[in-house]
């Protein structure tokens, strides 16, 4: 897959501090990302970063269009808010729910250049 400078940034959350995201889904998504050749960012756990108000969350929130493979969108949205860096409203952010969707479904959306709500 070619690297595209205009594509939305990809952020993957490992949810490493609790086992609430199915292992096969988070492994499957990470494997696809590693196989793809695209640039991507990963964090060990957005909840842990939010608890610490990690400054990197600000860069993620303010860094332009982004697709976030993580948890329930309502939780992710308010985790950023809780850290003092709300995600932008509108169509700049797409949150993909690894607790509910399959790895195939998630990766299909991650590699789609379009952002959808």
């Amino acid at each position: 897959m070619p690297e595209e400078s205009q594509s939305p940034k990809i952020l993957y959350c490992r949810c490493a501090y609790a086992q609430v995201v199915p292992g096969d889904v988070k492994d499957g998504v990470l494997k696809s990302l590693c196989d793809s050749g695209v640039a991507f960012e990963t964090v060990s756990d957005l909840c842990e970063m939010s608890a610490r108000q990690d400054p990197r969350l600000k860069s993620i929130a303010e860094g332009g269009p982004v697709k976030i493979a993580a948890c329930h969108p309502r939780a992710v949205k308010w985790l950023f808010h809780s850290a003092g860096v709300p995600l932008p409203e509108g169509d700049a952010v797409e949150i993909l729910n690894m607790r509910e969707e399959s790895a195939t479904g998630i990766t299909g959306k991650l590699f789609n250049r379009e952002l959808s709500q």
């Binding site: 842990e48 608890a51 610490r52 993620i60 939780a75």
Partner: protein
């Protein structure tokens, strides 16, 4: 103990100019090993970002950055032009995931870091699209987790005080506005709130009212809350009793871990905390009412 270190280390797997691409299987090994130990990792390559930089802005927010790559045995020296981030480089050659993890751990040295498995990020997250600022969570929680901001808006003030695996405050929120993302079930974990959930919450409030008198049902009318919840008609003993009963009931429903109940403060301390929380909530509500909020 939670570490407040802003960002222990930012790890970059660099596969741009001057570095050979890492085979996908090994890339997966490296990412898995580092992520599962609590490290944030970025895969960077030339032309990855809109501004032409090899590294994203996220990376330079870290105090320390470790750039890993297959540099052919000779890791380059890199500096942050802005002088903000200390950058070090390491050649990973053909190392596997565990060996790379060992290298990163050695680099981290003794800088504190929250360890997966040893600590869980457990704290309430408020959905302000749903929250009505009724202060029920503030007056319910005995551990000073909640407070109010300068605009008298409820906020989570002391994350660290929250008792791991205890979602009791979310159970007493009449608007299902409090989430614990690490909780297993919905809607507490952040799943969309359904009509059925709302009906269940209404029933829950009624049950609470049966347990503890009229506190929760009266709380539902915000304009009346400040007048009724803290009225002198309610003795302090009764308030204490309400909390105990509610906590025990929630424990019976599997909502509160036994160790939280076992480690509750003394009755006198609960009494004092409950009064403080009630006063804070009352003051915030009165101020919000006065300000038209």
């Amino acid at each position: 103990m939670v570490s407040d270190e802003a960002s222990p280390i930012q790890v970059i797997l660099y596969e741009g100019d001057g570095s050979s691409a890492v085979p996908p299987d090994r890339r997966f090994e490296i990412f898995s090993a580092l992520l599962d130990r609590g490290y944030a990792v970025i895969r960077a390559a030339k032309g990855s970002y809109r501004n032409g930089d090899a590294l994203p802005a996220t990376a330079v927010e870290a105090d320390r950055m470790l750039v890993l790559g297959d540099f052919g045995g000779d890791a380059p020296v890199l500096e942050d032009a802005g002088g903000r981030t200390a950058i070090e480089t390491r050649d990973i050659g053909a190392l596997d995931g565990e060996s790379v993890l060992e290298m990163v751990e050695k680099f981290r040295d003794d800088r504190p870091m929250n360890q997966p498995g040893a600590w869980k990020p457990w704290f309430p997250v408020i959905d302000y699209d749903r929250c009505t600022n009724c202060m029920q969570c503030l007056s319910f929680c005995l551990f000073d987790v909640y407070g109010v901001d300068d605009d008298n808006r409820i906020q989570v003030q002391n994350n660290d005080n929250c008792k791991t695996n205890c979602p009791a405050c979310s159970r007493v929120c009449p608007e299902v506005a409090i989430m614990f993302p690490k909780y297993s079930g919905g809607p507490i974990n952040g799943e969309p709130v359904s009509e059925q959930d709302l009906e269940r919450e209404k029933m829950k409030v009624d049950i609470s009212a049966l347990l503890g008198g009229d506190i929760y049902s009266k709380l539902r009318e915000r304009s009346e809350t400040a007048k009724s919840r803290f009225s002198k008609e309610r003795s302090s003993d009764k308030a204490l009793d309400e909390r105990k009963k509610c906590l025990i009931k929630l424990q019976g429903e599997g909502m509160i871990p036994a160790d939280v109940l076992e480690n509750l403060p003394s009755p006198e301390e609960i009494q004092r905390k409950a009064e403080e929380a009630a006063a804070k909530a009352q003051a915030a509500l009165a101020a919000a009412e006065g300000g038209g909020g």
